[in-house]
Structure formats: structure tokens, C-alpha cells
Symmetry: C2
Subunit: 408 residues, 2 copies
């Protein structure tokens, strides 16, 4: 079960003026499942995206980048689950294009105003006929208060739908931000098998939105890992409709930091939700590395810990087998690390220092913290002044079960 995470209430996901969402049960892979999502955007909506760095990026990712670059004004998003349309070569591109064309025709826009997204099994052809056949139903139920259905329509192995809303005030105008995301395996920065869509009614310039999404993704989706696998399809999209009628926020606006931080908070919550619903997760781990010379070396240490199957299985067992953490720090790749001059904390308990177990540490202390479902692992390198935080989950029988059985 997800770690301290419940699906949001439908009413808690606030409508964003200028954004309507509709779903269909198109039987892309399985019957009776919401598996196609259409998001319709008001004219003039600014849209920015970041995408997987995987060289085998999926056909829809290729098209998204191409269409965004053409700046035709994005008017709709089309998402399907059940098939990733990745590892599908030229044929995959053609099928993704066909689906964009079909939706564009139905909505009366151009195909390069429709961004396509797919998630699911890799290496299989997209059943584009089924996706297209589902579109009229999805369009028929386009509504602004349909975020929870939308969150459900993008799930794959997710157990709960993920969504969050937030409101702030800018220029005396109430600004709404609502986002949804899906995980939950193949989760790794740059990025995860992860889809995220965050909408706001704030007016934000295209350039400002592009800066915000880079900032937000580095603080959120690029700080999570479930299994270290970077997917072919990861995409995060920010949409700003401008319907709140605030003065358009540019990079140098006084309100730039305000909207940036609010959007980033939503992104962090959506990213953490993916980890909390990580495949088979029973524990949510925050790995914080402080006192590094560079952020890069802090990330090396944090990810060495967050990726270690030995550590993740020990957390699953609630076993304070903390030597495995020292081992991971040791192989993280900092060649001149002085292991005699660093500290390891579990929660607020000093576990190791001077190259070994702290004299004050008692196994009962570690065991007590291991019983909790949210656990902080803190490493102080004492080499510099940078830090980084990543979030991950433990590694359980169910991870194996879910991934051994996923296609069947």
C-alpha cells in the first residue's frame, strides 16, 4: 500500500479556468479502464515541457518536442495508458501523428497544437484505432472539474491517483494551481516513467514558464528514484492559461519567485506521491547529503544510497543494518572521501562517525526509527557547503511481484 498517501477527493482538486479534461475507456490494453485522457486548453495558454533524456525516447516524446518548438500554440493534450509507443521506430512516430491529427480534427485545431503522451508497455505498436475511437467519448465529458478522473485515466501500476491543488494570491487575484501525476516503477531522475501535468490560471510569459519548469523539475521529479530505471516516456508539462487576469509574470517580475515556488511546491508533492506509491513501497525514505564540495558529489552519495537494493531491502525489513549505508557511501565514487571525517544519522540519531559506529549509538535507537514509515537518512560529509535531498522507497517482495507480473 502507498506510504501515507491517499487518493485526493474529487472536490479537493480545484478547477483551473481555461483547462477542461475528459477521459474514455478505450480498451487500449485492458477492458473497462480509463485509459485515454484529453485535456483541452483555452487559446493563448502558455505551455512548457521537460522530457526524458533516454536515447530510446518514445515516439510521443519526439513529437512533443517538435510541436512545442513550432510554437503553434498548444490547444490540447492527448494521453493514453496501456502502451508506451516506445521502441517502435518510424511506425510509432506515424501512429502518434495519426492520433494527434484525429484529435486536432475533432477539436478544430492543427495537429501540431496537440501534444501526445503514452505510457505502458514498451516495444509494442500503439493501437491507434482504439485511441481514436475513444476520443469522442473523452471530448463529450470534457469538464473543468474532472481532474480526479484525469488522474485515474493516466495510472498504470499506480495504486492511488495522484493530484494536488494550491491557491495563492498575486496582484489581488486568486491564482489556482492543480496538478496530477502518475508513477510508479521505472522511476529515476531525467526522469521517471512519470507523467505530470500542472495547470494554473496565472498569466505567465513563455520564457518565464520555461525557466520555472526547469527549476521545478530539478527540485522535484529529478530528485526521486524508485528503481533507478529512467523511462522512455517521461514528460512533465506546465500550462498557464492566463485566465486569472493577473499582470503577465515575466522573468523579472516581482511575482516570478512567488509563482515559481508555488508551482515547485506542487511539483514536489506530485513527485513525492510517486515515491509514496512506488511499486511495492512500504517506507518513504528521504536521503539528505550535506557538506559536500559540489552538488554533483552530494547527488552521487545520495543516489548510491537510494539505489542500493541491499539498503532498500533492509529498510523493507525494518532492520537497522546501517553498515550497508556506509558501504554505499564508500562506493559512491568520491575518490578522496575521508571516511573518518563524516557522520551518518538515522533520523536525529548519530549512527556513525570517525569511520565507525558512534560510541553513543544503541541498536534499539535505530530499530525504533526503522519502525516508522517516513525515515530520514542524513549524511554529513564535512567537505564543503552544498547539499542535496532525494526521495526514495524501500524494496519489497511486492516490487518483484509487480514487475514480474506487469505484462501478464
Amino acid at each position: 500500500m502507498p506510504v501515507k498517501l491517499n487518493a485526493p477527493q474529487a472536490a479537493s482538486l480545484l478547477p483551473v479556468s481555461g483547462i477542461e479534461l475528459g477521459f474514455a475507456k478505450a480498451q487500449v490494453r485492458k477492458p473497462n479502464r480509463k485509459d485515454v485522457l484529453v485535456v483541452k486548453l483555452a487559446e493563448g495558454t502558455a505551455v512548457a515541457g521537460v522530457f526524458t533524456l533516454n536515447r530510446f525516447c518514445a515516439a510521443p516524446v519526439v513529437l512533443c518536442k517538435e510541436y512545442l518548438a513550432q510554437q503553434a500554440g498548444i490547444r490540447a493534450l492527448l494521453v493514453n495508458t496501456g502502451c508506451a509507443n516506445a521502441g517502435t521506430g518510424e511506425d510509432g512516430l506515424s501512429r502518434a501523428q495519426q492520433s494527434c491529427e484525429a484529435l486536432a480534427d475533432l477539436l478544430g485545431v492543427n495537429k501540431n497544437q496537440v501534444l501526445p503522451f503514452s505510457t505502458g508497455v514498451i516495444l509494442e505498436p500503439l493501437p491507434v484505432d482504439k485511441v481514436i475511437a475513444g476520443m469522442p467519448a473523452a471530448i463529450a465529458n470534457l469538464k473543468s472539474d474532472n481532474w480526479l478522473n484525469a488522474a485515474e485515466a493516466i495510472m498504470t501500476t499506480d495504486i492511488v491517483a495522484k493530484g494536488v491543488s494550491k491557491q495563492i494570491t498575486i496582484d489581488g487575484k486568486k491564482i489556482t494551481i492543480t496538478g496530477i501525476s502518475k508513477g510508479s516503477g521505472m522511476i529515476h531522475p531525467n526522469m521517471a516513467t512519470m507523467l505530470g501535468y500542472i495547470g494554473t490560471d496565472a498569466a505567465i510569459s513563455q520564457t518565464a514558464l520555461e525557466n520555472i519548469i526547469q527549476y521545478a523539475v530539478n527540485k522535484s521529479f529529478n530528485c526521486i528514484t524508485v528503481d533507478g530505471d529512467t523511462s522512455t516516456n517521461d514528460s512533465l508539462i506546465l500550462m498557464a492559461t492566463g485566465k486569472a487576469n493577473n499582470a503577465e509574470i515575466a522573468d523579472d517580475s516581482a511575482n516570478f519567485v512567488v509563482i515559481r515556488d508555488a508551482l515547485t511546491e506542487v511539483a514536489i508533492e506530485l513527485a513525492q506521491a510517486i515515491v509514496r506509491d512506488g511499486e511495492g513501497a512500504t517506507k518513504f525514505m528521504t536521503v539528505r547529503v550535506e557538506g559536500g564540495k559540489t552538488e554533483a558529489e552530494c547527488r552521487k552519495v545520495a543516489y548510491a544510497i537510494a539505489h542500493s537494493p541491499l539498503i532498500k531491502t533492509a529498510f523493507f525489513a525494518s532492520d537497522p543494518n546501517l553498515g550497508r549505508i556506509l558501504a554505499a557511501i564508500g562506493y559512491a565514487g568520491i575518490d578522496d572521501l575521508d571516511v573518518n571525517n563524516m557522520q551518518l544519522y538515522l533520523g536525529h540519531i548519530l549512527v556513525a562517525e570517525k569511520g565507525g559506529r558512534a560510541a553513543s549509538y544503541r541498536e534499539e535507537q535505530g530499530a525504533a526509527i526503522m519502525q516508522e514509515s517516513d525515515i530520514l537518512v542524513r549524511v554529513v560529509l564535512n567537505r564543503g557547503s552544498t547539499d542535496c535531498t532525494v526521495w526514495t522507497c524501500d524494496f519489497s517482495y511486492d516490487y518483484v511481484k509487480i514487475n514480474a507480473d506487469y505484462r501478464s
Copy 2:
């Protein structure tokens, strides 16, 4: 159960003149278990070692390097399981030294002629009194035909003992090589939670032996991975007693390549045995990457595949979910990889080319190969002429079980 691997017969592990082995049940961690091994070497034996690159390397690793550098002539090895004596700081070094001193006294040699090794739980103090108390029993049963008992005495979570012998002829002399190893989690190059000891009665110069061990380790123990964790204690030792009375082999001897390749073959068999007995393994996977520009990029791709929990769980399920392999190739870190110009084979079956599924590929073909216990994954990058091969195993419920329960 190990994948196509049985414990060797005692008689199949041939004595090596100049090497005697004795064990004790010293109750280091658990009762009634062979957990201390003493290896006694004839005077004049050449000894070379390679050790973990983990910055948190264990106290015995620190001492091994120090003593080998002093070139006092190694006369004995001392191995204990049950406690790694790693993450133990100054106190751990002192305990390792005490154990070397105690064995040196009993054997009438100096402490820097005794190399210490430990494997087991990290971050706990070595019960040096128990190790020392076990020494007389181990010395009492020193025998040259004790290799199987020795292999059993170094096991931790290993299911079967690992050992192999080989004989070749050099200068008309019969040369014997016998080696033992242990795994079986925290297995990763540079190196694994891996101990390996290979003895030969060949006469080999110290310099030649050091060159041979570097060559052999790069072709064997540095090509295996179970879970990507590089341990604190990994050590591989080559011992050449010279008792076969061949002309001493130097770097430039005609026989250098002959003995090097024979020792390397033994090292490869011992390394593969560790993977076949990898924690929870049900399948043995050979990942071969060809046509790379550099060996480094071939290794990146091979390890991206060999480390992916998603791929390893699919192999556990015998599910030809091969898109996950494409995804791993894509995120391996070759920035200019042309995914449209590479091929993926499962066994001899072409699975993917031109960025997608091969037209000739049928799911039944993949499914049939997935039923086998030894499976070849072959990637042809078509970028250059270098290649590399790594060996790994699948990821099962039992991996989680073993590592969740290891300390308890």
C-alpha cells in the same frame, strides 16, 4: 537454488603443493558453522592481491595492502565469516592486527606475514577473542586436500561452496591450479562482497603474478554483478608456491601467457559461480555488448542492462518484456547513440533493430528463450569495434527475502 551450479566434490579440488588449509567452528556469529579458515603457505610463495575500491574498505583490507607492500613474504591467510570488521574505525584495525599477531605467534612467523580477511555484517566489532580461540583447531586440521572445507568455511549467504581445479603442463611439469570463492550479494565489480583465493604450484615471479592478477580480475570478478553494491571487503588473492619446480615464469617468459590464461580461466569460473549462486538467482544472464567505440561505453550499456531491477524481475518471470532492455540501453549514458542503428538479440533471435521491434521477431521466440536458465542478451551498437561481456542473474522474491532477513 543456484543456476546450474553444484558444490564441487572434495576430490575434484586438487591439492596444491605448498598450500595447506584448516578450518574451525569458532562461533563468530552463529554456532556450529565453519567460520574461520587458516591457509598456510610454504616459504617463498609469491602472493598478489586486488581489493575493493570502496572508500569504506574494511580494516582487514587496509592491513592486507599494508602487509603486501612490506614484502615480508606472506606465510598465512586468516579468514573469518560472520563479521566484516568494516565501518569499525581504529578499533577495527587494532582487532585485525591482534588476530594476525595471534596466528603469527602460533605459526612462528611475523604478523606482517599473515593476511587477514573478514566477511559478514558491517559496522559491528570483530569478536577477535572468538577468532583467536578458533585458531588452534584450524591449525590442527591443516591439510593440503582441505580445499572443499575451506570453500565452506568462507561462505556467508552462499548456498553452495565454490571451487575449481585445473591442471596444465609447463616445461614438462604438471602444474595445478585450485581456487575457491564466495559471494553472493553485494556483488559488483571493483569488486563484489567477494572473496577469492587461487593457488598454484607454478613458480611465477612477483611482478608477473601482479600483472596476471590485474588481467585476470578484469576478465572475471570485475565482469559480474548481482545487485550493483560494491562491498567493503572484496579481496582476490593469487598464490604461487613454486613447488612444481618449473623455471620461474617472468613477464617475458614464453609461458607467461599460458599460466596467465589458465589462472584467468579459473578466476572466470569462480566469478561466474558467484553469479550462479547470486542471492535468489533463478537465471544466469550473459550480457554482451559489441561494436562500441570504447570499452567504457560497452560497459555502460552492459551494466545498465545488468543492473536494471525492471529487466531482472522480467527475467525472473520468464517474461520477454524486452522493451525494458531498450530503455536501459537508452539511459546508459551514450549521448550520441543512434538508436535506429543498433540491434538487440535474445540468444540468437533478432528482437529489435531500426529503433523498434524487428519485423521477423515473434513473441513466441522470446518466450521460448526466456524458459532457459542460461540466457544471452546481445547488443550490437554498430559504432566501433570494441566489446565487453558481463554476467549477472535475475531478481527474485528470494533476493528480497535473503536481504531482508540476513541479520536476523
